[in-house]
């Protein structure tokens, strides 16, 4: 009988705290978004499952000795997992469209205004009782506007580990919501005529340019923003493996098995930070609100910059492509393509939007470097 009692005293039923139940429901919600709504499932499915596991009473997943504890401390606290993901993304990225039309980099720059406006917004939130974001917290939150998952996780792990779970969830959720968030903003800021602009076909890009480009990016980062070199360096390493053509087996592994393995672990590890005491706070609400603002402002500033460039170029640039500057690769570029097709059924903007899209990745890595350097 003692045995049965002991077994009973260990059950979840006998030990659940309400907050844990709520967090498990949050985890299930993320699973629902991932599986049914197909919201960035590669990350949100493991994150959601990790959140469920981390909130089981008496299971100790995220305490010393638990598997999520090891995953988090080995891979996320050290920054290793997001950097490896970034390497894999680099190996998947084709900079061809950007090299053919480098001015697109300015769209990737403009869209980062979403980040810095959110930084200010986060500090403003401190006016509301209950919020008390430090500058480091605000920086980590602002990076959600970069629309780049590994960058957000990396920065949060360095500047605000307690907010990591909420920041990662917000970043991936809004990336999945890009097809809903962006089109109204894009349409409000452009005229139908602008949306119909067809762009010239891009010039061919030589293999040599593609090889030197990541080295040039790294070189400039080294000279002017060493704080961004962990992110930019691993990204350029992946891209160089891809474009050099001499280490295809390494490049393929970085793009497939390695990034898949790390994604599983990264997701579980991020999910393990979704504990009640860290997530069920008013700060999380603030982060979710700020994240939406960040995406909206980033989209708007990208479109406005593209609009300005369109006028200066005499109407050769379709301002819609500015929206792709937030990154959210390749979702944002697809959204541009879709909105463009609505205005002009013969206007395929996908390849043109890939330029600002990958520029946005570089832009937010640079912004992350600035934030790390100034708030770190």
């Amino acid at each position: 009988m003692d045995g049965l009692l002991k077994l009973w005293s260990d059950t979840g039923l006998a030990n659940f705290e309400p907050s844990q139940l709520v967090m498990i429901v949050v985890g299930l919600l993320l699973l629902y978004l991932a599986i049914v709504k197909k919201f960035e499932p590669l990350l949100l499915l493991p994150i959601g499952f990790g959140a469920v596991l981390a909130n089981i009473p008496n299971a100790g997943f995220s305490e010393p000795g638990g598997i999520l504890y090891y995953i988090y401390h080995v891979g996320i606290e050290t920054g290793v997992f997001p950097l490896l993901i970034f390497m894999g993304v680099g190996a998947m990225t084709d900079f061809g469209a950007l090299i053919a039309n480098p001015k697109m980099l300015w769209l990737g720059a403009a869209a980062q205004f979403g980040i810095f406006a959110t930084l200010l917004g986060a500090i403003f939130l401190n006016l509301i009782p209950g919020f008390d974001f430090t500058l480091a917290d605000a920086s980590a939150i602002a990076i959600i506007g970069g629309a780049d998952g590994p960058t957000a996780i990396f920065l949060a792990s360095r500047l605000a580990p307690d907010l990591l779970g909420a920041i990662a969830v917000a970043a991936y959720s809004y990336m999945a919501l890009v097809p809903i968030i962006q089109p109204p903003i894009m349409k409000a800021l452009t005229t139908p005529e602008e949306r119909q602009i067809q762009m010239e076909q891009l010039r061919p890009v030589s293999m040599r340019e593609k090889i030197v480009f990541p080295l040039a990016v790294l070189g400039l980062t080294i000279l002017f923003l060493p704080a961004a070199t962990p992110l930019v360096g691993m990204f350029c390493f992946g891209n160089l493996m891809r474009e050099s053509g001499v280490v295809d087996r390494l490049s393929k592994t970085a793009q497939n098995e390695l990034i898949n393995i790390v994604t599983i672990f990264l997701g579980l590890g991020v999910g393990s930070k979704l504990s009640a005491d860290k997530f069920l706070t008013v700060e999380t609400l603030g982060i979710l609100a700020l994240g939406a603002v960040a995406f909206a402002i980033g989209t708007a500033s990208g479109v406005l910059m593209a609009k300005a460039m369109s006028r200066m170029s005499g109407g050769k640039i379709n301002p819609l492509i500015g929206a792709a500057g937030v990154s959210a690769v390749p979702m944002a570029a697809r959204v541009v393509n879709k909105v463009g097709l609505e205005a002009n059924p013969h206007n395929f903007l996908l390849m043109h939007a890939m330029g600002p899209n990958v520029a946005g990745v570089l832009g937010s890595a640079v912004a992350a470097g600035v934030l790390l350097s100034m708030a770190g």
Partner: protein, 84 residues
């Protein structure tokens, strides 16, 4: 209510500096990439960036010769078996 003025000042300064830094950096990169295009001669290995996506349609005219050999042999076997 805490006095957030100093924090706000800092954040505003970071915003200004951050946007300057991002534009400065990416403008340098624009220039570098344009230089790159001048330095890289239009060599044979140039490939149109348009077609560099992996989902390119299969090309009928360029068949793997080994596959053709296998298929030719298969056709032969098929004919022999079916007395065409």
């Amino acid at each position: 209510m805490t006095d957030i003025a100093p924090q706000l000042m800092q954040a505003a300064s970071m915003m200004a500096i951050g946007m300057i830094a991002v534009f400065f950096f990416l403008t340098l990169l624009v220039a570098a990439t344009q230089q790159l295009a001048k330095l890289a001669p239009p060599i044979d290995d140039s490939i149109p960036s348009q077609t560099s996506n992996p989902n390119s349609t299969s090309q009928h005219s360029k068949l793997d010769p080994k596959l053709v050999a296998v298929i030719s042999s298969a056709v032969q076997q098929y004919r022999n078996n079916h007395k065409v």
